[in-house]
Symmetry: C2
Subunit: 805 residues, 2 copies
């Protein structure tokens, strides 16, 4: 079955066709209720009895009849137009509706043969829902056709746009609940239409479903005048089509005919836009249609129970009848309710959907739950990645630290090649920081920023087609990338480190998705979500305290160790190796923190590859360790600025305390610090102890909050002797070296700490300790007086001594 995208309607749907829609809808509603309530007796062959009812009633009915209604109608349109359609369920808590649809369409049984299309399967379908050992109540990774869990609201429309990019034949029908519509991320996601290329990308059809209620109160958008709502949608650049249906409060065929006409209108408008776009006759950004569907919350459920209005109120949000197990009266109401869908017409004797229902099921992959874009792993092809060696910085052993480079600018050169070699499957998203983070100019030599708002004379690197997409909303960047990855493509999100916290919660939800998806056998792994965090805490001295926060790493490391990886490359070559690795990986969330400022380069490409493969390692050229004997102390570092400071401290100690046997270690992959039973990258204890001898003090200069290292390494042998320096939440507008001094991470402080931790050393070097303390005071005074760092720091080069005169 081949899809033929963007057909126009062939005529009004026939009454028979609307009856098919209605049958499918009733069947999906019946199955949804069954999932919420029933353990047994799925076809109601017997009168409902106590033992047929689940002991715990969990689920959300309120949004469900709307979701089933939309699926029923989309199925009709898909059948007629043979239109590839991805269904994004904003109200993902209406899980029963999407599960029911997948079962009716036969996809569920294909994914889960034990839940077959018969009475036994239906009973399993009901029982497993929200049941221990069963399936979650939301549109989770376990749900065929889903790319949006919908537990945390706000991201459906961003996911929809992400799915649409670079898939010109795909229709993404995105249901947005009126609760979700109140969230910030959703409120700005409407502007996604200004970043979409109508010819090269798919189409997004937002369906704002106003059922009027959240958990306990009305929704804002359901309570503003229609002229405001229409203005709002026009203001967002859409052509709104508003339709109100009463569900079972008005004649069935009228309901279906009214909505079918609106849906056909919307799809015809989209087809016309796509035709113009394909023909190159689209004069300006089109006003894509969107649908506002008003319907009663929980419609088709009992109007009232015990004198309280249920249908059309917040009381229908979760489980409308809670006492059905023990209350015979309520149970009778439930049975009447279920029988009101006339199950005898909907399922055959075996319990399979009847012909009337099956007639509304599209064929093959056109079934929405089977759309390959909803199982992106099956579509994913590895990126074509040019060898990083061609972009390596040449670092000879005798010239370490002498070459300067901007790590992210070097990465940009390589990413430009990635873009050239993968013109339809790789994108960079970011909040207006691609240039600031130095990926440009290289990246803009290979591509433009995609943009479908007005372009004016003098604009640079804006075009209708481009691999970079920028908007000042981290939520959109993340949401688009998630949608893009979940549908089988690849990408990178580059952003300021501090403001990555804006998407903490999205990271958490995506990590949970990936973690759960790992246990779903039919889901193939998708490409990893790659963050490039530049403009990091140590180089926001000019922007001040609000821009200084390395805590995104901490948030990420709370998620499953199977999913999260944190990389701290400390020069351009280690960044290249890291980026290459991340773009090849699947199923992960990779955080890469890297510098954008000119900085000394330390490792050759061969060394960088070996070092990153190990994830951590000794830098033998930097220490003074004597062959055979263990070190007196270890000076470890993770991150570019901490490594620079640690190396400068090592240079001081090498010159001024030559008797000290110092080992210098760099850590690129934080997972190596954790025990192997906690993190798959965890170094076995014996290997770990060889690098960090248990009895030697380790002074650790870390990029972020110092306690993170303790949290990772607390079970290791050297932990009682581990002393971590990092960001202590002290910052302001100042100079780079003042920032490290404020946080006790500077070279002088690190050297002092080493001297004080090794027994006997402080006494032997009392003068040096004084000099180091003086150097700190002098650096601070100089900065306060002149507004710049002292020359001995600003101009410091390895391996010169950094104490100056």
């Amino acid at each position: 079955m081949t899809a033929t995208a963007w057909q126009r309607r062939s005529g009004e749907p026939s009454p028979d066709d609307l009856d098919r829609v209605d049958a499918w809808w009733r069947a999906a509603n019946y199955l949804s209720i069954g999932q919420i309530y029933l353990l047994e007796n799925p076809l109601l062959r017997q009168q409902l009895a106590r033992e047929h009812i689940k002991p715990q009633l969990l689920g959300h009915w309120g949004t469900t009849p709307g979701l089933t209604f939309l699926q029923a109608h989309l199925n009709r349109a898909i059948r007629e137009r043979r239109q590839r359609t991805l269904f994004v369920t904003g109200p993902g808590h209406g899980g029963p509706a999407v599960v029911a649809g997948a079962w009716l369409d036969g996809v569920y049984a294909e994914r889960y043969p034990e839940v077959g299309v018969d009475e036994r399967g239906m009973q399993r379908l009901f029982r497993q829902f929200s049941f221990p050992g069963g399936i979650p109540s939301h549109a989770a990774p376990e749900t065929p056709g889903s790319i949006n869990e919908g537990g945390e609201l706000g991201y459906s429309l961003a996911h929809a746009y992400g799915a649409a990019f670079d898939d010109p034949d795909l229709l993404v029908a995105c249901v947005i609940g009126d609760g979700e519509a109140e969230t910030g991320p959703l409120a700005t996601a409407w502007h996604g239409n200004k970043l979409l290329n109508p010819a090269a990308d798919g189409a997004v059809l937002p369906i704002l479903h106003l059922n009027g209620w959240k958990i306990a109160g009305p929704t804002l958008l359901a309570r503003i005048p229609e002229h405001e709502l229409v203005s709002l949608m026009r203001g967002y650049g859409h052509e709104p089509l508003v339709v109100t249906v009463g569900f079972d409060d008005e004649p069935t065929r009228e309901v279906h005919a009214r909505f079918a006409a609106v849906l056909d209108d919307a799809l015809d408008r989209i087809a016309a836009i796509k035709a113009d776009a394909a023909a190159g006759t689209l004069a300006e950004r089109p006003a894509w249609p969107m649908i506002v569907l008003r319907s009663p919350k929980g419609g088709t459920c009992p109007d009232e129970v015990d004198g309280e209005r249920i249908e059309g109120t917040w009381r229908a949000h979760q489980v409308p009848l809670s006492g059905v197990r023990d209350d015979d009266g309520h149970r009778r109401i439930l049975e009447e309710w279920m029988r009101s869908y006339r199950p005898e017409e909907l399922f055959d004797e075996r319990g399979a959907p009847a012909a009337a229902v099956r007639a509304n099921v599209p064929k093959g992959d056109l079934r929405m739950a089977a759309e390959p874009a909803s199982n992106g792993g099956v579509r994913r092809e590895p990126l074509r990645l040019t060898a990083i060696g061609g972009h390596a910085i040449d670092v000879a052993p005798d010239a370490r630290g002498a070459v300067e480079a901007q790590a992210t600018a070097v990465l940009g050169e390589w990413l430009a090649e990635v873009i050239r070699d993968n013109p339809r499957t790789f994108r960079i998203f970011g909040p207006d920081e691609t240039a600031s983070n130095r990926l440009a100019p290289a990246v803009y030599a290979a591509t433009e920023r995609q943009w479908n708002a007005r372009i004016e004379p003098g604009d640079e690197h804006l075009a209708l087609t481009g691999r970079v997409i920028e908007v000042l909303s981290e939520h959109q960047c993340q949401g688009w990338l998630e949608g893009y990855l979940l549908t089988g493509r690849h990408g990178l999100f580059n952003t300021y480190e501090a403001f990555a916290h804006i998407v903490d919660s999205m990271l958490g939800q995506h990590a949970k998705w990936l973690e759960s998806a790992m246990h779903v056998p039919w889901r193939e792994p998708i490409a990893s979500l790659n963050y490039l965090l530049s403009s990091h805490v140590w180089r926001q001295d000019h922007n001040g305290f609000s821009h200084q926060d390395p805590g995104f790493i901490d948030v990420a490391l709370n998620k499953s160790p199977e999913v999260v990886r944190v990389h701290l490359p400390f020069d351009a070559n280690t960044l290249l190796v890291t980026a290459d690795h991340c773009l090849r990986s699947t199923g992960r969330i990779n955080l890469v923190v890297a510098g954008k400022q000119p900085a000394p380069q330390w490792l050759s490409m061969a060394e960088a590859e070996e070092h990153c493969r190990r994830g951590l390692g000794v830098l033998p050229w930097a220490g003074t360790e004597r062959e055979g004997s263990g070190p007196d102390a270890v000076l470890a570092a993770a991150g570019d600025v901490p490594t620079l400071e640690a190396l400068a401290a090592a240079a001081i100690l090498r010159e001024r305390a030559p008797a000290l046997s110092l080992r210098v270690v760099n850590v690129v992959d934080l997972g190596r610090l954790q025990p192997p039973d906690v993190h798959p990258h965890g170094l076995p204890d014996d290997e770990y102890d060889r690098i960090f001898p248990p009895e030697a003090p380790t002074v650790f200069a870390y990029h972020g909050y110092p306690w993170l290292i303790h949290r990772l390494a607390y079970r290791r042998g050297h932990h009682p002797h581990l002393h971590v320096h990092g960001f202590l939440e002290r910052g302001t507008t100042t100079t780079p070296f003042d920032m490290v001094m404020m946080n006790e991470l500077d070279r002088y402080r690190l050297a002092i700490d080493v001297l004080q931790r090794v027994p006997g050393l402080a006494e032997a070097h009392a003068g040096l300790l004084d000099e180091l303390a003086d150097a700190r005071a002098r650096a601070r005074a100089h900065t306060r007086e002149h507004g710049v760092d002292v020359p001995e720091v600003a101009d410091w080069r390895w391996p010169a001594s950094s104490l100056g005169s």
Copy 2:
């Protein structure tokens, strides 16, 4: 000087008056440039030389002339109308503009006498800006008049609404940059007008400043057709007034007259709305005016430098001329630019603002930088708090665990009293979860939900006036509360624990604000920001994995220990004591995690007060410790569910391993675990060691991610023997006890761990260990089969043995 709010205009501004506006504007621009560039020679008495220029040029010019322009015009309107006005600077990175305004209006020197209103003061003003040891580049706490730092974009309009609540005479003029307008939080903040009471609250005047550019690209809202922009604003419920000014590209008086007319129009419309609201003649929610100001980015700066267009482009975003220290040509351009404002007319011989400038300065507290609402601490009055004793749950020593209560429902009863006693200074914000979190029904007996969208028959607890404000946007809830607190009031944000992550970044920014404000002598402490996190990780078994995340605590604890407090009350009485403490405190961010489900009650009110005062303590009735001898093991817990499981484990051990000397400890205040040099609540080591003896194993049942406890306690003596159980990022839709079992936090697992940690105990109790393992297996099997927890868990009551038969 008394303000007289909501006057209508007295006529067109005279040319002289517009000249005063212009003089003030030119002076503010001059001072802004001086801050960005100059170290010396503030009045340009000499030709600008290299040594007059800062060695590092930091700051954001692009937004600055717009901000000074708006302040100049607002000053005129304030003078005429005597209107209390709070200026909220969304583009807070335009710090120089707000600092300049405060200095011109004389407020700066009142706050910082060393930065006087004379040449010496001006030189200090210039030098200190973005200079080490000086002031930050943003509208930080150091900036008089500021309540919005603006480093992280998105929150200005929410802050504005928060400031306006319950201050009916206050105008909040809120400048929103077109970059910020792209963020999600800002995109939904426009709906704040549906929550505002036009009579009882102040007025918000949003000013969307379209200067067209972000850091490196154009803004979306500047690149959509005007009809879309106008539709968007009407859709948000506003009446947009659009005005375009060319700054120095057109005649000065025309520019000022045009904008003055629009501002007067806006303020007259507001005055009319306020008059109708006061008279009770407002038939429906008014369409409040808002202003769209289009102006060239960085206007009044040099048009071109070195052949590149600067003014009106993204190149004006930060520092337009970067080479002025070393490039004589550029330095001459800078000098010409500064002289173009005609400083000789603006400052007198002493360097003080000339009469022409001072004539545009409002009097006294009407100066925007002096508005008391911008320094909320000075307005704050302690809440009237009814004694919590009246709401205590009676827990007799012989009936511990026998009484059941819902902690948050009990709190709700007390909060209802707080609301009744503080009808204008206390609010509860939340995303539609006040009822779900069980604060209702009690709270709704005392107040309503404030709502100014349509109210329909059958709606409950919705009214134009109410102390509870709900919208499904955690960003808005947090932003409103911040604005409300920063202007001197009190409040509470109640939300689902998992979704608090949505505001991680806002918590971080507010913590940074509070931390910095502590060091600003003229800022009085504001009321603490109190989170009530209910519907927590252990009781989201029905909603599933996406709702299970206790990591907000971890994010909070990365911020300054001077600011952040985490409270884990474990029953209703400890929750009452905690809430009372938090509502009395200032300058803090208090996280309170509490249960909403019916649960056993453990402490009498007297015990709860003592226990919370200590922050942690032994529960002597729960352990089996023998008088005089130390414990064999400590079983510690923090959080309601972990404490329940720990107590159940203790009950098992008491009955089945009576020889074990077990101490049971509960921790309410996590800060107590940290060393006293790290956290002000940190327990001294000797006291700590008395509770957690260094050599005894401690099995710790913790509410959140277990490594957090290690991160807090790693320096403590018992750390090598500390074994923490907590949330391991394992979850789904299941039963409550299955959730704790999945994460190894259940009573059986805790008891097993204690038995295995105490030398010799496991051998002596091999049978018990088997029984406990069997109990786990049985519990799991029962849950999988029946969908509910085993009766021995579900019906368990202290002090019965929980092993069942």
